[in-house]
Symmetry: C2
Subunit: 333 residues, 2 copies
Amino acid sequence: MRPTARQVAELANVSVATVSYVLSGKDRPVAAETRQRVLDAARQLGYTPNQAARSLRKRRTQRVCLVLSSFGGVPTDARLATDLHEMADARGYSVVTLSVYDEARAQAAVEVLRGGIADGALIRLTGGHLEQGLLGGLADTGLPMVVMSNGSGLEGCDVVRTPEVEACAEAVEHLLTTGRRRVAFMGQRYEVYSDKPEGRLLGYLTALERNGGAERIITGGADDRVAAYQTATGLLSSPDRPDAIFAASDRAAISAIWAARDLGLSVPGDVAIVGVGNIDEGLISNPQLSTVGPLRHDYTDVVRLLFDRLQAEEPPPAREIVRSWTFVRRGSS
Amino acid sequence: MRPTARQVAELANVSVATVSYVLSGKDRPVAAETRQRVLDAARQLGYTPNQAARSLRKRRTQRVCLVLSSFGGVPTDARLATDLHEMADARGYSVVTLSVYDEARAQAAVEVLRGGIADGALIRLTGGHLEQGLLGGLADTGLPMVVMSNGSGLEGCDVVRTPEVEACAEAVEHLLTTGRRRVAFMGQRYEVYSDKPEGRLLGYLTALERNGGAERIITGGADDRVAAYQTATGLLSSPDRPDAIFAASDRAAISAIWAARDLGLSVPGDVAIVGVGNIDEGLISNPQLSTVGPLRHDYTDVVRLLFDRLQAEEPPPAREIVRSWTFVRRGSS
DNA sequence: CTGTTAGCGCGTTCAC
DNA sequence: GTGAACGCGCTAACAG
């Protein structure tokens, strides 16, 4: 059985109140000798306060929740997690992560968050319907949330946006204005099979539109590296193969470079390739990967949004941050 | 303010006990009409039971905790997470994840787990000292744990091991017996800078030993793709370059393939390359990657260990599973 | 079939 | 400086 404050108190010959005061580091004065007895007793018993009881009483968990789509490991998620952990540490919060990669997980996450697992949440999901499911289920809770998303209907929480559509359009326009005539889009499932184009696909379509409506070539396959390789191989083996591929992720774009090279095609000579995300790996591909995304992966501003809200006296009004995205032209285009 | 069971009770004109019985799905008989009133009231107020109060009272959280080193995204972690979530769902548990990528996070995880966030934990860390810190801090709690590790001192919890050393030795021996004379080892920081060789490094050393003590060439750089590329470039640019590289991860091995090709070296002609992990990406590299690891990524047996322990009447004795690893020779060696 | 009651472990008044 | 007593929101035992 886990030791309780009562047991510590008995062992130290004090009351539970004194144990609480000593261990929660309040400024209430406690005699040095008493304090030491309590500390010794706690150590001896291996006592750690029960967080459920503590949060029930204090009506705060001192925890924040990070909600991510997957452990598939986009570097953005990793950096975001690091920045969150760091600031949480500094402000005396713990971090727990919820992984939401499908509808069932979105429902589960709603339950857990409604159940009060944390005082606030930082949410970054890829896949519009997952986000809708989650935020819809949380709308009436007033839980402090920061959402990284370009979606709509995000009232009541802080929102962090990127100029994704415009930046992708710029990248595709670059391809078109440097002489590419058949630009293919390789997207993620949720984009390609959505009823209304958004995000990266919308950027692609916008660019085609602006440039006199070049042919639309739209495929999936950007969800993982193997699928991307296979998709790119298919595209590039066709007799009327594209002369450029705009991939919805850098990982997919790098797979496409491999596919092209394995088919004996030169990049960017025969086919130009551009990705999204600006991950470090793009610097070691051959040729180096052209991409669009943030220049620096620093999310302290995002994270600060959450903690400022948590620690404010008055709930601040919903804020919005727009991060900057840049087209980075390298060797692959 | 979040609605409480009391408010639901008042709205439905029943007692809080009835609310509890209706919503927690106990078999206590409740009149259909009463039940409906409670359900309506709960829905109307947007009531979700406070998990802190519930676990305090039930002395169970109905949660399990997944502890991982990072979101860097080894596919193994992703599959493990999927299998855990699935079985948790089926058995009525939630899953929260703790991310332990450094010493501070290990300490934080100890606090959180000691604080009682979950009824059990599934732990898979890379980095011996992190694991020691975590398990040491949890040793006296009796928390049900399943640990995926080849370390020692893991009494009291279920352990899942791999024949890592022997399998890696086999891979390196394969290189030596196919005529390679200078086999380099590219490892992760925690292996290379450890005082006592273990794991993949130990496998490498064992193979050298067995084959008459070929020269040891040991570098770091396997922690991320860019570092691996740079390290491999350095190794392979040297006048007495190795004619084989055994990398501690498939991702690093693939970076090494790129590095070799960018230097105009043929793989496996000039340099053979072997990785660890058997990730899918090895099938689309050129040449395909030789590797050592599990043939199937299925972790239901691991996950079952945890839930069986959680749901058993009597705590079962500590179990041990040894998963099989195989050397898979492909084109790169 | 339903209501009343007594804690779960802790933090916080209020007395002393 | 310290202890006793109350209640956070909920479930489980016991009455009725």
